[in-house]
């Protein structure tokens, strides 16, 4: 009896309070308080996140400069001769403008399609290249860097945002970002410089003869497939089949697989490819392909590269070597790679951008460029683990020999 009495009293009280203060007002206040608390909490966490990412960025930049320092000497020795021959014009401007800040104030919007080691290197190389040419971030150059997180709709809005702010130039990293930037800037007078586009001709960003289709130019990261095949043959003289995992929705990978198909017979290899749709397919596809091949070779496929640790784990268990396409992959545990160096590619892109910013040439007049030389990286720890011997000549030629396996650290 007592409890029901109490309940009745309480409900009556509640009704009275509601009548006095008003149900709606209470609810609104509730919502506002709740909303404010939640959003401040999220803001704090976001600021923390931003601070964290700044930290990692600065440390990675430090690491890069260290890397640069060690790589630079060797790179300079090997590549300077070729560069001097191939691009005298660049060197002239190099010498005259080095350490000299170009007059003016420029803003460049960088639209990067996804978060990914190679693409990050590309962006950093771009800034290094620009700095060499007298455009230094924070002095005469403002950079607005945006990342689309691999979402097409966001990439398109980023490009439109840059065009809306009338930046002096848009720099796009990876094919989808480049296509969106070109589409957004088409009617405006804003030059677009792209990088890490494997096949600019197939993407209709360049004509088959290499000339630009509009106010756009850049660099291509087409893989030196022939050099890679040659290297695999050298390390594994008895291998018969090469396996390649790739994402069917990535145009870059499709184009490269076609080149592999053309060139593999020349080096007596049989090609086994396995197409996947999402990163969730990778474990099963890897298990399957490892039963059929003597070694795996990676492309610059975004999804596959992101899941490389999974693939390497499985490959180590099956004692099958994985060849990479870039230095970061060898660092993680790939046996070797004969690939594009994205910092160098980014620098080259920076030189192109500097020519346009200085007003020497328009993007329309500049043909897109590729990197002709490939860089060899080997991982001797992986070789030891797999019981593979890397020929001494190759170990000497390699730009860097890693002695640790990144995924096992």
């Amino acid at each position: 009896m007592k409890t029901t009495m109490n309940r009745e009293v309480i409900t009556r009280m509640k009704h009275r309070v509601k009548r006095i203060v008003g149900h709606k007002v209470i609810r609104t206040i509730n919502h506002i308080v709740f909303g404010v608390i939640l959003s401040t909490f999220m803001l704090i966490s976001m600021l923390g996140l931003a601070a964290c990412s700044n930290d990692t960025r600065s440390t990675s930049a430090e690491a890069d400069t260290k890397n640069e320092a060690s790589q630079e000497d060797r790179k300079n020795e090997s590549s300077q001769e070729a560069e001097q021959q191939s691009n005298t014009e660049k060197n002239v401007s190099n010498n005259s403008d080095k350490d000299e800040i170009f007059e003016g104030n420029f803003t460049i919007g960088i639209s990067q399609f996804a978060q990914h080691g190679s693409l990050d290197n590309c962006r950093e190389g771009f800034l290094l290249g620009l700095a060499e040419q007298g455009f230094v971030e924070g002095e005469n150059l403002t950079i607005d860097y945006q990342n689309a997180g691999a979402e097409m709709a966001v990439a398109s809005q980023i490009a439109e945002n840059f065009v809306g702010k009338s930046y002096d130039m848009i720099m796009a990293v990876a094919t989808p970002a480049a296509m969106h930037a070109y589409n957004a800037a088409m009617d405006k007078d804003i030059p677009v410089i792209y990088s890490a586009v494997s096949d600019p001709v197939a993407a209709e960003l360049a004509q088959p003869n290499g000339e630009s289709v509009g106010n756009i130019t850049g660099t291509s990261d087409a893989l030196p497939v022939e050099a890679q095949l040659k290297m695999i043959r050298e390390i594994m003289p008895d291998a018969e089949t090469i396996g390649i995992l790739y994402t069917t929705s990535e145009a870059n990978s499709e184009a490269t697989v076609k080149i592999y198909e053309e060139l593999a017979p020349k080096y007596d290899f049989e090609l086994v490819t396995s197409g996947i749709a999402t990163s969730a397919d990778i474990p099963l596809a890897t298990d399957n392909i490892l039963t059929k091949v003597d070694c795996l070779s990676n492309l610059t496929d975004n999804t596959v590269v992101e899941s490389l640790p999974t693939i390497l784990d499985k490959a180590f268990a099956a004692n099958i070597p994985v060849f990479g396409s870039e230095v970061e992959q060898v660092d993680l545990g790939c046996l070797a790679s004969e690939g594009v160096d994205y910092i160098t590619l980014g620098k080259k892109t920076g030189y192109l951008a500097a020519q346009v910013l200085r007003g020497e040439k328009t993007a329309n007049e500049l043909n897109f460029e590729t990197i002709s030389e490939s860089f060899l990286y080997v991982n001797s720890a992986t070789a030891e683990k797999l019981g593979v011997e890397i020929p001494q000549s190759m170990a000497d030629r390699a730009l860097e020999n890693f002695s640790e396996i990144g995924v096992l650290k």
Binding site: T28, L47, L49, S53, A203, A277
Partner: protein, 294 residues
């Protein structure tokens, strides 16, 4: 100004898709995942037809019907084969990925040089000052047409039946109609609109990309809920109009998040916070009404 135009362009294109989601999620109360596949399906069909030299408007219409077929397949799997709604959507979405690649030929197909509804001789004759608005000039009539057509349809006998499927299936049965068929019809119509939206997007951005369907459903659902919640108080507005405005608001949120740009990687988190704030503002409206559409 250009940013504003961009928001309206993107918002209106995705509004057509949001109208489709409004049919399945709100009217039919049926979670349809086919959308992530039928959106790029529209793009693929449209781009393939344009490359083959078809008329851009005709290719939009054919894309619509391609989406209708996808919706019918989901409907048949769900209603006739009695497979759960979520799974039947997943099945068709998964299958469509391959179909899209087959239709388009490869994963990324550009049509930068082709004649589209946004890039043709008629629009090139516009005076220079109208040039920035040319996409909107074409888009607004299309979206208004879709809205009016949907509004009209929902007031026909068949439309009224469709609306009652989500609310009270027994009513349909007592009227000697099959609720299953109405569901198939709704799914067909919804996916047709989604594919149409994909086709319009392909013509605006001038390329097809196999992965562009990812996240479509989330985006559309957010637009629908924003529209209905934010404008819950305004009774004069029809639901389709609210959904269209919701889509524009969603795109504006993303644009603001980009413009704020604290760090490149925090974009999604800022978008999430802005979404929450917008929804809480909308909460002041009639909660009872909004509740049904959660």
């Amino acid at each position: 100004m250009t940013i504003l135009i961009g928001i309206f362009e993107q918002g209106l294109i995705y509004a057509v898709m949001a109208l489709g989601l409004y049919i399945t999620y709100v009217i039919l109360d049926l979670p349809d995942l086919t959308v992530d596949g039928s959106f790029p399906l529209g793009s693929a069909v449209c781009v393939a037809l344009i490359i083959a030299g078809a008329n851009p408007v005709l290719s939009l219409i054919i894309s619509f019907f391609a989406g209708v077929i996808a919706g019918i397949i989901t409907g048949i799997i769900h209603v006739k084969l009695r497979i759960r709604d979520l799974i039947s959507g997943i099945i068709v979405m998964t299958g469509l990925y391959t179909i899209n690649l087959i239709i388009a030929g490869k994963s990324n197909v550009p049509i930068f040089e082709a004649t589209t509804i946004f890039n043709n001789d008629l629009l090139k004759q516009l005076p220079e000052s109208f040039k920035p608005y040319r996409v909107l000039l074409v888009l607004i009539p299309i979206v208004i047409l879709c809205k009016i057509a949907l509004n009209r349809y929902l007031h026909t006998k068949s439309g009224l039946l469709l609306r009652s499927v989500g609310d009270n299936q027994n009513l349909i049965t007592t009227m000697a109609k099959d609720p299953g068929n109405m569901k198939i019809l709704g799914l067909a119509l919804a996916n047709g609109l989604v594919a149409l939206s994909g086709a319009i997007l392909a013509q605006q951005q001038r390329f097809f990309e196999a992965s562009q369907g990812t996240g479509t459903m989330v985006m559309g659902l957010a637009s629908v809920i924003i529209g209905i919640r934010l404008f819950a108080r305004i009774k004069l507005m029809s639901f389709p109009l609210k959904v269209i405005l919701g889509s524009i608001v969603y795109k504006a949120i993303v644009a603001v998040a980009i413009a704020l740009g604290l760090s490149a990687n925090s974009l999604k988190l800022i978008t999430a916070i802005l979404l929450l704030i917008i929804l809480l503002i909308g909460e002041h409206g009639k909660r009872e009404k909004a509740k049904q559409y959660d």
